[in-house]
Each structure stands twice: as structure tokens, then as C-alpha cells.
């Protein structure tokens, strides 16, 4: 696997990526700001949203058991999966038992996290991605680059070319509407003909056993209601106690993600079709997935389990805006991804993510559930340091600096020498190339320091 820096450099060198990311994230940022301004006391709403999540995270066991009982009472079957592999095995077994040849999948990041698309492929089960952006990703054989807009890294121009190459009867006119029609022609029949519909869950409602999904395209409803079987894969942190809590979280989610007051489609699925129902699946299966979440709660990352996957942190992140989502290398990009990925993929392979952050705090400021993302990222930096994963040059350099800095008299001498040395490289007030700080002078000039440190000048003046 390529290194983070290699991937980031490739992303920085791609001018189309920059345009694509800026179009979507820029619009989202502007629309969110308007929505939050119009919201009566968004700050209080954030506090309440964080409190709801903290409460359920502290009492996960009882709420999940309540959900299980409610869902079973509504006619669904509930499964518990400790790991990604276990979750995939359960889903595949249900598909096989149903004799499924094709499944229609409604976009789910949890599905990506557990590797479900790949598992379905290995099992020889046809997969139709019904979310428009996931459809684009499937056609291009890529991975999502954003948790809300999986195809954010593509411009409409690129999508048009892709549809023309892959669709059976592609669009003629170069308009978004014509392209959407082309996708509709391609997807509608496949959705209606699928044997199984698979979705994630935006919320699990403990007291009713309902599963909530939100979409803007209605693709979840079309892929989950007509097939005989509906399978839900959901992270265990998606639980909320009851409908009013879900409604509060929905208000936070839509505004934070896109700036809309509500998504076009918000649906609660409570059990399979009941006698007398005109539609709905015959079976509903819900797979509750841990995949490291319990461990996160125990190992100081409980606050991360508040995350409702809105994407605001990445939309507002200066680093994400420059490099896009693929450079992060995991399922989840941006600040929330930088916190989650080390738990999922191991810190040794992902230690860059916590460092590739300026700790500017914007992500925390816009987070609808007040996750202290910079603090959690600093936590990964500490763990990486403790476990000896940081580069030797960094450890040695910082160690030497700290050793001197904890000896003020020596430090004064050291700074005097350093200032004299650095000043030798200056021309007209600026230094264009500085050894050991090439990262700085590769792109910017460094102002030449004054002839004497503040402390030296101050004491000379005091002695006068």
C-alpha cells in the first residue's frame, strides 16, 4: 500500500480533484452556515445531541437489548457480529438462504467499513449500488471518497463520460437532468428485480425496533421495500432511545451534512410486511456490528461513538479540502476518519493521519455532536509516541530541544548560537534555504531572526 504522503502528493497534483472537492464542500459549507444561522440556538441543540449520544454510549448494552426485543416483536431477526468478517458471513448466509442472485444496496458506510461489497462479489452475488454516487463509484470501480458524497472527487464532466462508456442507453444532452435519467434507466429495473435489499441505518430506535434511513434520492425505499428480504447492517453506536431522540438527531444530521432542513426521504422500517400490508419485504434481518466500537469506548475514544456521519468535519477541514478523501487511505476520510482509521486498520500503518492535521479546531466547532476531534487526534499522536512509531529523527530532535529547553541558562546560550548561525544564511531580511528546515523553505521564505533574542536584549536594557 502506498504511503499517505505519496497519496497526498498525487492528490495535490490533480487539478480536477481540487475543483471537484471545492465545488461540493464549498457549497455544503455555505449552505450549512445559512441553515445554522436560521436555527434557533444551534449551540443548545448540539449540547443536547451530544448528551443523547453520551447517554446511550454509556448504556449501550441495555439499549441494544431493548432494541433487539422490540425488533423481534415487530417480526425482524437480529444478529450480533463482533467483527467485520463475522458481519459479512452473516449477510452472505442470509442471502444464500434466500437464494439471492442479485442484491440492491442502499449506500452504507458501515457496509464499506466491513468490506461487504467485496464479500458479496466473492460469494458470487450480483450487487447493484442504488445510490447515484455509489452507482458512479461502482461503474468506475473505485472507493468512496466522502461519507455523504462518495463520488465527490469526480466532476459532472467526468461522470458524463463514464455514463456514456458504461450505460446501455446513455444520455444525449449534456445536462444533469439527462444524466440522472440515464442512471434511472440503468438502475430502476435492477432495483425492482433484486432478490434482497441491503441497507445501513442512520438510527436504530430502541423502544420500537425501527431502523431509520435517510436519502435524497428515494433509492433506499425502492431497494428495500420491493425485494423479498431486507438486510440491515448497523454499527451498534447508531442506537437512540426513542423517536423524539431520533428526530432531534435528524435535525442535526441534515443541516450539518448539506444545509437542508431535512433529507428528501426519511423512512422508519419497523419489521417486515405484516398481514394486510400492501407491500414490504417478507423477511427483515438486522445485523448489529461492533467491529472495534466496544474497544473504542474502553480505550478513551467513547466521544467518537457520538459521530452521526454528517461529514461536516471534512467539509470544513483545510487538509481534506486540499487532498480529498482517497489520500486518507481508509473507509472514513477527514478528521473523523483520521480518528477512526487507526482503530480499524491499526496505528502503525496509519500514524500519519493524526499528524496530517493543523489542530485548528474547525472540525470540533462544526461537529453537531461536539466531538473533540483535535483532542482525540492528539491522543493518537501520544499513543504513537509511546509505542515508538514516530520517526527516530523526530524523537531525537524533539528530545534534544526539550532537554535544552528545560535548562533555561543553557537554553539562552543555545538560542544565541542558533540565532547567529541562522542569520548567516539571510539575505535582505529573508532566508530562502535553511538546512534541516527544508520543509519550510521549499515553499516559503523564513524571516531572518533579530540579532539578539528578546531575553538578551531585555537584560541588556535592564542593566543600563
Amino acid at each position: 500500500m502506498s504511503s499517505f504522503t505519496t497519496r497526498a502528493d498525487a492528490a495535490l497534483a490533480d487539478p480536477i480533484l481540487k475543483i471537484a472537492v471545492e465545488r461540493t464542500a464549498g457549497t455544503a459549507q455555505a449552505k450549512r452556515a445559512i441553515a445554522i444561522d436560521a436555527f434557533p440556538d444551534f449551540e443548545a441543540a448540539r449540547t443536547r445531541a451530544a448528551a443523547i449520544k453520551d447517554h446511550v454510549i454509556a448504556h449501550l448494552g441495555p439499549y441494544l437489548e431493548q432494541f433487539e426485543a422490540s425488533a423481534i416483536a415487530a417480526g425482524a431477526q437480529v444478529y450480533w457480529a463482533q467483527t467485520a468478517d463475522e458481519a459479512c458471513r452473516i449477510v452472505i448466509a442470509i442471502c444464500k438462504a434466500a437464494g439471492a442472485k442479485t442484491v440492491a444496496r442502499s449506500k452504507s458506510m458501515l457496509g464499506e467499513e466491513i468490506g461487504l461489497p467485496h464479500a458479496l462479489e466473492e460469494a458470487g452475488i450480483g450487487r447493484v449500488e442504488t445510490d447515484l454516487a455509489e452507482h458512479i463509484i461502482q461503474l468506475a470501480d473505485e472507493r468512496p471518497s466522502h461519507i455523504i458524497w462518495p463520488a465527490m472527487h469526480k466532476t459532472s464532466e467526468q461522470v458524463s463520460a463514464l455514463f456514456k462508456a458504461k450505460h446501455r442507453t446513455p444520455h444525449q444532452e449534456e445536462t444533469i437532468a439527462a444524466m440522472a435519467q440515464s442512471a434511472r434507466r440503468e438502475l430502476r429495473g435492477a432495483m425492482l428485480g433484486a432478490d434482497v435489499g441491503i441497507s445501513g441505518a442512520n438510527f436504530l430506535i430502541a423502544d420500537s425496533g425501527a431502523v431509520c434511513t435517510v436519502t435524497n434520492e428515494g433509492n433506499a425505499e425502492l431497494s428495500l421495500v420491493p425485494p423479498r428480504v431486507h438486510i440491515v447492517t448497523a454499527g451498534i453506536e447508531k442506537i437512540v432511545p426513542s423517536m423524539p431522540h431520533a428526530i432531534h438527531m435528524l435535525r442535526m444530521l441534515a443541516r450539518s451534512a448539506t444545509g437542508a432542513a431535512l433529507t428528501q426521504y426519511t423512512t422508519f422500517y419497523t419489521g417486515p410486511r405484516r398481514p394486510g400490508d400492501r407491500d414490504g419485504p417478507e423477511e427483515m434481518h438486522i445485523v448489529l456490528v461492533d467491529n472495534g466500537r466496544t474497544k473504542m469506548r474502553e480505550e478513551g475514544l467513547a466521544e467518537m461513538l457520538r459521530c452521526i456521519r454528517c461529514g461536516a468535519c471534512m467539509n470544513h477541514c483545510v487538509v481534506f479540502r486540499q487532498i480529498g478523501g482517497h489520500a486518507y487511505g481508509g473507509t472514513y476520510p477527514g478528521p473523523m476518519g483520521a480518528v477512526l482509521t487507526p482503530t480499524l486498520d491499526g496505528l502503525a500503518a496509519t500514524r500519519d493521519l493524526a499528524h496530517a492535521c493543523t489542530l485548528n479546531g474547525m472540525c470540533q466547532q462544526v461537529c453537531p455532536v461536539k466531538i473533540p476531534l483535535p483532542t482525540l487526534l492528539r491522543g493518537w499522536r501520544e499513543k504513537s509516541w509511546r509505542e515508538g512509531l514516530e520517526p527516530t529523527s523526530m524523537r531525537a530532535g524533539l528530545g534534544l530541544w526539550a532537554w535544552v529547553a528545560t535548562r533555561p541558562a543553557l537554553y539562552r546560550l543555545g538560542t544565541a548560537i542558533a540565532i547567529r548561525a541562522i542569520r548567516l544564511l539571510g539575505r535582505k531580511g529573508w532566508i530562502a534555504r535553511l538546512p534541516l528546515a527544508g520543509g519550510w523553505t521549499q515553499y516559503r521564505d523564513l524571516p531572518k531572526p533579530a540579532a539578539q533574542s528578546f531575553m538578551a536584549q531585555y537584560h541588556q536594557e535592564q542593566r543600563k
Binding site: A8, T358, M362, R378, R381, E390, M394, L398, A437, K448
Partner: protein, 251 residues
């Protein structure tokens, strides 16, 4: 009543641009403070803290706490260093019953210099003139850890002849991020490149901010790009030292 305040110079101001420290002293004295510079100070420990090196961060936090605790108030010409003390020292000593109360006492009396002049002293520059247009970048730590936004603007508004022109994306990070800028120089460059373009687009003569790290990053990029915008720490203007050399200009 005169206040006896200690100046925590910060390592970057000490080494790179001492006149920010002298500007802070001048403004504080003009606001009626007696300023001392404690000997035992070096760095607040932020580089270690943000690198994950907790042991060295704790060692420097102890040294800084011990050096600063005898004084009535501690004034810092940097939002990020003041933020390190105020927001992170209590975290560093979370499980240290001996040091936590000492750190908390220091936290309660540590202020960023412009916030202190404006909010605690209720002071404004008097008789300071500088005919120029300036734009202001809100450095992230000061803005988000300490709520510094209106204070520097109120102080700058009292300077005769100075007009402030808004900077698009003033609250967006400049890409400095401490060691981030040398660990990931290409990403940092892309971020500061956009910041420099936004600064140039204001048409302002001067770029102002409250943190030298961010200022060096932005000024260094502006200079590399051939911009004519001159950069100062806002306290230099507020103290009446805006007629001197800007960052990167020889005295």
C-alpha cells in the same frame, strides 16, 4: 492601581521577533501595568504536546508553571501559547494532585495580551497614528481556544488613520500548524497558498494577526510569491510600533 504582571515571551518571539515582546511591554505599561520578565521561562511545551511527547510536555509545563506562578497575572503575546497553558496544562496534570492546583492557579491568571488589554484593563491606544489599510487573520488557537476575535479589532480601531478591511476566510487555518508545516510541507503550502491569495485580494497594505507562527507562515509565503503586503503582529501596531520594520524587513 498598578498591576504587577509577568510577560511570558514565548520561544518564537524570543528567537525570531523580539520587538513583539517589547511592544507587549510598551502597551501593558501604557495601560498602567508593571511588567516583569521571569527568568525561568523558555517554551510552554506546545511542540512536545502536539507531537505526542507527553513526558517532555509535562516537564516544560512544570517549569513554566513554577516560573510564572508568583505573579498577579501572566501575559502572553500568542493565542496558541496562552491556549496551551489555559486549555492543556490542566489536562497534562489531570492525574497529578500536587501540580494540578498549581497549574490551575496559573491558568486562572494567564491572558493573551490583546484580550488582557481590552477586557481586563479596558485600555485603548491613545494618540497612535498609522495611515494604512490592514487586514486581520484570526489565528485558530486564539480564536477557538480563547475566543479572541473582537478584542484585537477594538484595539486596532482606536489607531488613527488605520482602516481594517475584512479578509475572506479570516477564520480558516493558514496551514501553519506547528510542526505540521514541515512534516507535510506540500499540503501546508497548498493551504497557505490560498491564504496568501486571499490576503493579496484584500488590497490591504498590512497583514495582522496575533500569533507569530501563523504570521511567519503567511508572510514567508507572501514574500516568496512576490507580494508587497507587509506583516506585523497586531500588538506592534497597538503599541505604536507599526512604523518600524515589518516581518522580514531589516531594521
Amino acid at each position: 492601581m498598578t498591576k504587577n504582571v509577568a510577560l511570558f515571551v514565548t520561544c518564537l518571539v524570543d528567537i525570531m521577533r523580539p520587538r513583539i515582546g517589547f511592544a507587549a511591554i510598551r502597551a501593558l505599561e501604557s495601560a498602567g501595568c508593571d511588567v516583569v520578565v521571569p527568568q525561568g521561562q523558555t517554551c510552554c511545551g506546545q511542540p512536545a504536546l502536539n507531537s505526542g511527547d507527553r513526558d517532555h510536555a509535562v516537564a516544560l509545563a512544570k517549569q513554566t508553571t513554577a516560573a510564572l506562578e508568583p505573579y498577579e497575572a501572566i501575559i502572553v503575546p500568542s493565542g496558541s501559547c496562552a491556549g496551551t497553558i489555559r486549555c492543556h496544562y490542566p489536562e497534562l496534570f489531570e492525574h497529578d494532585a500536587a501540580w494540578l492546583p498549581r497549574a490551575q492557579a496559573v491558568v486562572a491568571k494567564t491572558f493573551e495580551v490583546m484580550a488582557y488589554l481590552d477586557e481586563v484593563c479596558g485600555w485603548q491606544p491613545d494618540g497612535v497614528t498609522l495611515p494604512a489599510t490592514a487586514t486581520y487573520h484570526d489565528s485558530c488557537s486564539g480564536l477557538r481556544e480563547l475566543g479572541i476575535k473582537a478584542q484585537p479589532r477594538r484595539l486596532l480601531d482606536a489607531i488613527d488613520g488605520l482602516s481594517l478591511t475584512p479578509l475572506a476566510g479570516a477564520e480558516t487555518c493558514c496551514g501553519f500548524g506547528g510542526t505540521f508545516c514541515v512534516k507535510y510541507p506540500a499540503i501546508s503550502n497548498a493551504i497557505v497558498g490560498e491564504k496568501a491569495a486571499a490576503i493579496d485580494a484584500t488590497g490591504a497594505d498590512l497583514l495582522l494577526a496575533g500569533d507569530l507562527g501563523c504570521l511567519m507562515n503567511m508572510a514567508g509565503k507572501l514574500h516568496r510569491d512576490g507580494s508587497k503586503v507587509r506583516a506585523f503582529h497586531a500588538i506592534e501596531l497597538i503599541a505604536g510600533m507599526g512604523d518600524g520594520p515589518a516581518i522580514g524587513e531589516e531594521a
